[in-house]
Point group: C3
Chain length 380, copies 3
């Protein structure tokens, strides 16, 4: 880990910097790879539509390859997703038979105007690079030349012994609120205090937290300096209430601690290493659809070579993780993110150091919008 970042008071940090990239990114960052669905689902359905960073796309399984095109025929703007596959490797608009190569986006024929149509060679539809990795369909939304997909996915997910359990939902709310909520520590103390997952754990009243950056500069990670399981609040009393079914404070399990590292990275990925002996890691992508909704893509990942251990995790996932973590716990997050108004004034406080550092990290490190348009494909 590199040096601990300076612990400004949040208001100072927010006031001092213009954060233009952050402010412009309400609808999503452009120059990134985003996972949008599982490869298995697209392979089975053959065709799907998705809105991503404000653009409507049609995704197609073209033999073994996946393709993505802007979902609008340039002729009259009718959705291409309603079209037919008249020839392999192409899609034909349902309306007048304009036929587009799925890979290049170039119009290869205007069927209803004959082979020598004067418009041949003059139009196309924008395509987007698509890649399959770790069982997911990734789409590149940038104007610039795509980076390797591996640059936008946590490295450890590519290990041979990784077992990845995905769960994909489309939900309401802004992707930035979702990301900030994921990396924020203090809401755990209140929002998740009554979740099933923590019934037999102590959830501390508050922690002293600082933010580290990983040596490769990719991840921001929360570090808990001091954990205050209980505290006394002047005029109010002790909080939280002590419960006989919780472990004894001084010898029981505590949530938090360095081994339960929570990290966030660009473009919108959260990683939570699970505490204790469970030996798995939780990932979340908050894939921006537009400024009012996002794809909430969750992974439970374990690294095991033994078939028996894999089977045990399979059991654990379907009987426990999916219900207690991904529904019970994460649904609390989905609810509050949907209730957080986009663009409203905010008043940050000390634990928002995590949010402040994330915004600063985005501002300094997010890939700039590329106006040279290397990826404009055949369309204008």
């Amino acid at each position: 880990m590199s040096a601990v970042l300076q612990n400004n008071t949040p208001a100072e940090a927010e006031g001092r910097e213009p954060w233009e990239k952050y402010r412009a990114a309400a609808g999503g960052l452009d120059e990134y790879w985003y996972p949008v669905m599982t490869a298995a689902e697209l392979r089975q359905k053959k065709r799907a539509t998705v809105e991503l960073v404000g653009r409507k796309l049609v995704l197609l399984a073209d033999g073994a390859k996946f393709r993505a095109l802007l979902d609008a025929c340039p002729h009259r703007q009718v959705p291409l997703s309603l079209g037919k596959v008249e020839f392999p490797g192409t899609i034909t608009c349902m309306y007048h038979g304009w036929t587009f190569n799925l890979e290049s986006g170039r119009m290869v024929a205007a069927l209803t105007d004959g082979p020598d149509s004067p418009i041949n060679g003059k139009v196309g539809v924008r395509t987007y690079p698509v890649e399959e990795r770790i069982g997911l369909v990734f789409v590149w939304m940038g104007e610039g030349k795509p980076v390797p997909v591996e640059d936008d996915v946590p490295t450890e997910l590519f290990r041979e012994d990784a077992r990845v359990y995905p769960f994909v939902r489309t939900v309401g709310g802004n992707w930035r609120h979702a990301t900030e909520n994921g990396f924020d520590e203090s809401h755990v103390k209140m929002l998740h205090r009554y979740a099933a997952w923590v019934t037999f754990r102590n959830v501390s009243a508050w922690n002293e937290t600082s933010i580290d950056k990983s040596d490769d500069g990719v991840w921001l990670e929360r570090v808990q300096r001091n954990v205050h399981l209980f505290d006394d609040y002047p005029g109010l009393g002790s909080w939280p209430k002590k419960r006989f079914w919780k472990p004894e404070p001084n010898k029981g399990v505590t949530t938090g601690g360095k081994d339960h590292a929570v990290g966030v990275r660009l473009p919108c990925i959260l990683r939570v290493r699970q505490p204790g002996k469970a030996d798995w890691t939780h990932y979340e992508w908050y894939v921006p659809i537009n400024k009012d909704s996002y794809i909430y893509l969750v992974l439970a990942v374990t690294w095991r070579s033994s078939p028996w251990k894999r089977f045990m995790f399979w059991m654990r996932y379907w009987t426990y993780i999916l219900w207690v973590h991904h529904y019970g716990f994460n649904n609390q997050d989905l609810g509050v993110v949907a209730k957080t108004p986009e663009g409203a004034p905010v008043r940050l406080f000390r634990p928002d150091i995590s949010i402040i550092e994330w915004r600063r990290h985005l501002e300094q490190n997010a890939r700039p919008v590329n106006r040279s348009g290397n990826n404009k494909g055949a369309g204008a």
Copy 2:
């Protein structure tokens, strides 16, 4: 009663005056007490949300006291109404545990940042004065120092022998249209002609009406100068049609007449003294939610000391008044007010003297908006 107001033709009256206060009040007048629900309902539910004059509030029963706060935590604007009562006399935001004193609105602790959080003493949420009177919850929406609640409620409702039957609905339409509809006489002749309540009564074709002001200047009241039960219209014939089941015109009951006084007062209160021996009075508040909807709060009130007479009125209310007056008759009003477009051009006629005088009364007497902000509470 003071002098009869000058009977201008409505169009003249409307054209002559700018009526700035009236025009600005599409969403409600600020400096008033408004009833929003019954005290019994809030006491039972403990918590309720309401929008009032364009602001979203959370109402809470705090022991014997009622409290009202702006329904948004200043941190991230998440609704406080979703919070928990972790300590008596406070509410704690569900998201990060910001805890507010219900009376002052001041934040007494940011629980998830420990007892010594640097933000202590720096933030608060706006509170609104709340009072319970005649079984209703009244909220003060003004910026200025609240007047006594008694200033904004008809005096006679505070008499010891008053029996008050409330009925509260949230409905569509503008509160000014509703108020004008309530005080308007001529719509009774047409809109309510076929209501069950008047089946065995004569409803006159038209009246000559003027508007009086009560000696204390609080009420405007309609005075029927001449009642024309039937009339002959050139080219059309006699109207309304004579019906054998109606009383004989010259000896039967007629609706209208001085004893059936209809009055209106600020901010949005109608009073209708019921004719005949029924001995009760009907009140309506058109409490502004915003410019498109209002709380329609109706009271049936009688003043009786004898338990037997009270029982008889209880019987009358539940078997007759509620159904024939508050559903059958008043639903006709609710329907037409919802159909009256806000902000559309109007062309007034002679009976609209009541509307003209009401607008003038509002213009001259409504409390001015107070920008000094005496009631801003702890919030900014």
Copy 3:
């Protein structure tokens, strides 16, 4: 037929002319007669509401005559369609009894202000000329003096032996897209390729088309110069696929050909003479409601004097035409028109000659908006 119009490339033609009338007519052309419903339906219901070229109307059957008035009382803008007929030949507003002559629109009495109301003679509501022809209710929406209805209806529909089968639907989409879709030939080759109607017919790959104008200048008509049943597309292969159940190309029936003339005329009428021995003609009106929806009024018309032949057509209509043509085939058009975004950029191609010529025809021949207001009726 007059001379064939010059066959510009579409993009040139579109770029060269400003087409102001066309661009202004997104919500419909004003100075025309439009059919809105069947006379039988209005006669049975007595009253109907319709929105036409952006204005809300109430239609009434007044004895043998039909009437149309703006559906808003000038007093408080409450819909007149909610009113009562208190006197024959009039409608009385439900709210305050303002009573309007159905023919002139003049207010003949303000019932609730007595026979001598000062407002008498000062107000009215706008009326619209209504005529019944060929079993349909036609309304004139112009500001100018109405032309004869016969000017806006194809002449042959008035022949004594005409049998007219109407079918009326209110659908989403812009009326101009619907008109252009109706007159467009090339979409037939793709959109309708799999309709039931063409199961046992060949649908050509593409045609060389030009546009004629009828001698009287009223109709634009498509002329098929060369019909290419099949063709070879470089890099793709032959299209469409040959099917054993289709007729042999060189001797079978082909869709298209001069005898299957498709024509379009102002304001929004399509005519399709059916091929082969069926001996009937299909008409469509795309009556503008506003820029987002239209009344899709379809007629199947045959001209037969013999009762036996009429019966045979009656059978054919109810067992075949209605299902195969008006549902199966036309629903494909309704679907794609609803999916075509209004106001989005377009990129035309050679077959859009029909659209270009139609836009030019509208621009040069549509009746100009008449600002003199001869048809303003009694209302302001």
